[in-house]
């Protein structure tokens, strides 16, 4: 197992370098640069080409691409993710600033997703073709199809405006010292928007996986032994059915980390997703590279964690 882990970790290094090279090339290919993005087209004429060139020189943008990339890599080797080209703040600082918000939303969405998806998926599989099964199928289809923007605004309209029981946006009420209760209230709607999407996915995977497992011989054996149905399902069948679910959750974590952009926009949630979006729009190359790098590391780590989890859950899978 240790040698397996060592091998996996060694492979991540060239993979990461490849990812960063591709990212660097693509963002520099896109038209525009951070300096152009800082001003409106009408202002560009006013400021004059020399002002633009001077700022470009300051930011080191007039160097050739390979030189800039190597410099970035060198800084990274020293543990420095660089500085934002638009605000000058340290990229690592920017990401860390956003981490609490992102983590809150991520954990809440996963709790809602798994908390709803797995139990309902299990019940759906166990009581296949029942009313509950059809209801959950409709639920999962609906929430996979509904775009988060529509869902978010709809929920705001119903719960925040019409019923007035939840706040509209933000992480805390502006101007008041944040209490746990206040934060939880603000978390409800965004977590619902993200979580229901997660739940819908997890529900489908749990249901179909459990359905397959329940048809296996060993389940029939367990039943024949006279075991309580609950024990058969939860102790024997579910553990085997969870393998694809683990994959889905593990892959969703990095997706939620930097991908909940739309939800973050609507609820004004200062997470990493909106940081990524804003830095792309502003062509802030350093921040884009930094966020991408952290995201890539997270993806690779989550994949590794998922693979290790398999070997724990399923004794048939062993790594040499």
């Amino acid at each position: 197992m240790t040698s397996y882990l060592a091998r996996r970790l060694l492979i991540t290094i060239p993979v990461l370098i490849g990812i960063t090279v591709l990212t660097f090339v693509f963002i520099n290919l896109a038209p525009g640069d951070p300096v152009m993005m800082m001003v409106s087209p009408e202002q560009v004429a006013e400021l004059g080409q020399e002002w633009l060139e001077a700022r470009r020189h300051e930011l080191g943008l007039d160097q050739p691409l390979p030189v800039r990339y190597v410099r970035w890599l060198q800084e990274l080797a020293h543990g420095n993710l660089g500085y934002s080209l638009t605000t000058g703040e340290s990229v690592a600082g920017l990401i860390v600033e956003r981490l609490p918000a992102t983590l809150r939303l991520l954990v809440a969405a996963l709790v809602v997703g798994i908390g709803i998806g797995v139990p309902v998926g299990v019940l759906s599989a166990v009581k296949q073709y029942s009313l509950l099964d059809y209801a959950s199928t409709i639920f999962s289809m609906a929430f996979i199809a509904v775009p988060p923007f529509f869902l978010g605004l709809g929920l705001i309209y119903i719960f925040a405006l019409s019923l007035d029981i939840l706040p509209t946006a933000g992480m805390n009420t502006v101007g008041v010292t944040p209490t746990l209760w206040d934060s939880l209230l603000h978390l409800v709607l965004p977590a619902t928007v993200l979580g229901f999407g997660q739940a819908a996915q997890i529900l489908r995977y749990t249901r179909s996986s459990l359905l397959q497992v329940l048809r296996q011989d060993f389940v029939r054996t367990a039943r024949a032994k006279g075991l309580h149905e609950r024990v058969v399902i939860y102790r024997h069948a579910l553990r085997n059915a969870l393998i694809p679910v683990v994959t889905v959750v593990a892959l969703n974590i990095p997706a939620l980390f930097g991908g909940a952009v739309i939800t973050e926009q609507i609820f004004q949630w200062p997470g990493v997703g909106s940081l990524a979006m804003a830095s792309i729009a502003r062509r802030d190359y350093s921040t884009i590279m930094g966020v991408n790098f952290v995201s890539a590391v997270l993806v690779l780590l989550c994949n590794l964690a998922a693979d290790v989890a398999y070997s724990i859950i399923d004794p048939r899978i062993r790594y040499r």
């Binding site: 038209p31 525009g32 640069d33 152009m36 993005m37 800082m38 001003v39 409106s40 087209p41 009408e42 202002q43 560009v44 004429a45 006013e46 400021l47 004059g48 080409q49 020399e50 002002w51 001077a54 700022r55 300051e58 638009t86 605000t87 000058g88 703040e89 600033e97 956003r98 019940l123 605004l153 705001i156 309209y157 925040a160 405006l161 007035d164 029981i165 939840l166 706040p167 509209t168 946006a169 933000g170 992480m171 009420t173 502006v174 101007g175 008041v176 209760w181 206040d182 209230l185 309580h228 149905e229 609950r230 926009q265 609507i266 609820f267 004004q268 200062p270 909106s274 804003a278 062509r283």
Partner: protein
């Protein structure tokens, strides 16, 4: 059977817990507002602040919303585009429009208690003209005498800015330009020398630098910026003009949809809204909707380098072929006004006798026939997509042009690409439409787009229009502060451009503001750039809903 009942029990149990949770939530949902004794105002920021740095991000409207309450400018533009003194008791413009003298108030103080003097003003000019500071005003202020030498490092101070005495500053320009007062000075926030002189110049433009050095002289003090969420400012009780009436202002960053929702709930007091939201909000009893004439123009420029666009009859045909009044009513619900020249304000400068080019497709066809227009020719029209009313009008315009025999092919491009194409002075486009600008603030603004020595890529004259009479008139117009003379000049300019039509002017849209009726003394302007000019006068009377 046991197994069914236990599953049902679990579900009922969970539902029960959920219900209890919901009840608790409903019960505790109140009590969100801060202590009732404080007067707190909530203002909408339509975009995240770019950096809240008065040197490098003061070009952004949303940053200015906040900076206008923390800092002062020597003069500001009112909602009617009049120059009003801010950090000065009075100002003087010399008769040759070259020298501007500002008399500072003697009791103005910085937030840390030190007095505001002419040294601070001189320091500010020098910082704003230093290219290393990242100041975006370097271009606008370059008309000051000695600015070029200072930029190249030949002098350590800008020669044209002089301290006359402790409370008087004189600014001298290289060439006469009375528009300098309305266009450059209001954009410059006055900075404290004693706080910033120790900071290396190249770090002044950094957003982080200003987080803990936001010492201004304005009616409100900076408290904190919760990144991408809100900015908080608190009353400055020692403000030199008197005590501000509000205790605290929160500038909240929200998308427009959420802002409208919060206005309905009474959680937001002032927001800029679109024409479609305006009608919905006007129906509410606690909100008033103000539609203020804007300073920008939605227009389409012809690339006069193309030989087939050089006949002015062809260009006039465009204006007759497009139903501008009709489109304004449909896409903007009438929140705007059709204009026929780039001189749309202030009021004294607007020529009332211009040809209105009323919608007349027959006249358009006739003009095209006279000009021997080839209706098989395809024209490339570039624009930046993203503004609802403009995007909605393009298909209609295309149809209306087709009816008179003009074929246009639209090419939506990203802002950076548009800037490259339009400002490079190339011939890969025929028509280019855009909006914005501050034409309504000063008639001289339009000069940069029509002077013959300002052709792209050197300047902003994207159409490459060249008319020696226009050049002469513009130069005369900014060389005297006398309003009567200027009015005659700008009337003539407008009438020439109205006939030559290097650009088809569609309309100047209004800026629509939704203001909670409890807000008193707020006169929102026609452009987001100057919003907050009257922040000192804002007050609250009554409840928010």
């Amino acid at each position: 059977m046991t197994r069914v009942r236990s599953t049902k029990k679990t579900i009922y149990g969970l539902v029960g817990i959920l219900l209890c949770f919901v009840l608790l939530v409903t019960g505790c949902a109140g009590g969100k507002q801060p202590a009732q004794k404080e007067k707190v105002l909530y203002v909408h920021l339509y975009m995240k602040p770019a950096g809240l740095n008065p040197i490098s991000s003061s070009g952004q409207g949303q940053d200015r919303h906040v900076l206008n309450s923390i800092y002062n400018n020597l003069v500001r533009l009112s909602d009617k585009y009049e120059v009003v003194p801010d950090l000065c008791e009075r100002y003087e413009v010399s008769s040759d429009a070259k020298v501007f003298t500002f008399y500072l108030p003697k009791n103005a103080k910085w937030h840390d208690g030190k007095p505001v003097t002419a040294d601070d003003v001189v320091f500010t000019f020098n910082v704003m003209l230093n290219p290393k500071s990242g100041s975006w005003l370097v271009g606008k202020l370059s008309e000051i005498k000695g600015a070029a030498d200072y930029k190249e490092g030949k002098t350590s101070q800008v020669a044209g800015v002089t301290k006359v005495d402790e409370y008087t500053v004189k600014v001298e320009l290289e060439k006469p330009d009375v528009a300098f007062l309305a266009l450059a000075i209001p954009d410059m926030y006055i900075l404290p020398k004693h706080v910033l002189e120790s900071v290396p110049v190249d770090q002044l433009g950094n957003a982080q630098t200003f987080r803990d050095k936001m010492v201004g002289s304005g009616p409100y003090k900076f408290v904190k910026y919760e990144t991408d969420q809100y900015v908080e400012v608190v009353k400055n009780p020692d403000y030199w003009r008197g005590k501000p009436k509000l205790d605290r202002i929160f500038y909240k960053v929200l998308t427009t949809d959420v802002a409208v929702a919060q206005m309905e709930k009474g959680e937001l007091d002032i927001a800029k809204v679109s024409a479609t939201d305006a009608s919905r909000l006007a129906a509410l009893s606690h909100v008033q909707v103000l539609s203020v004439p804007g300073a920008g123009i939605f227009q389409m420029g012809f690339n006069l380098q193309q030989p087939y666009l050089q006949d002015k009859r062809v260009r006039q045909a465009f204006a007759y072929a497009i139903d501008r009044e009709g489109l304004l009513k449909t896409v903007l619900q009438g929140h705007g006004r059709v204009v026929n020249s780039p001189i749309i304000g202030p009021e004294w400068a607007v020529n009332p006798n211009l040809d209105p080019y009323k919608y007349d497709p027959e006249k358009a066809k006739q003009l095209l026939r006279e000009a021997k227009w080839d209706s098989n020719r395809k024209l490339v029209w570039i624009y930046i997509p993203g503004i609802r009313d403009r995007d909605a009008s393009y298909p209609v315009m295309q149809q209306q042009l087709k009816e008179v025999g003009i074929n246009v092919e639209f090419k939506p491009v990203e802002a950076a690409v548009f800037a490259k194409m339009y400002l490079a002075g190339t011939t890969d486009w025929d028509l280019a439409s855009f909006g914005g600008g501050v034409y309504g603030a000063e008639p001289h603004v339009s000069s940069q787009y029509y002077l013959s020595w300002n052709h792209t890529p050197k300047g902003a004259n994207g159409t490459h229009y060249a008319n020696p009479r226009i050049d002469e008139l513009y130069m005369q117009g900014c060389a005297t502060p006398d309003r009567a003379t200027r009015q005659k000049i700008y009337y003539e300019i407008a009438s020439i451009l109205n006939e030559d039509m290097p650009t088809v002017f569609f309309w100047a849209n209004n800026e629509i503001w939704a203001v909670n009726k409890r807000v008193v003394g707020c006169k929102p302007p026609g452009t987001v750039h100057t919003f907050g000019w009257d922040v000192f006068d804002w007050d609250i009377a009554g409840e928010s809903k």
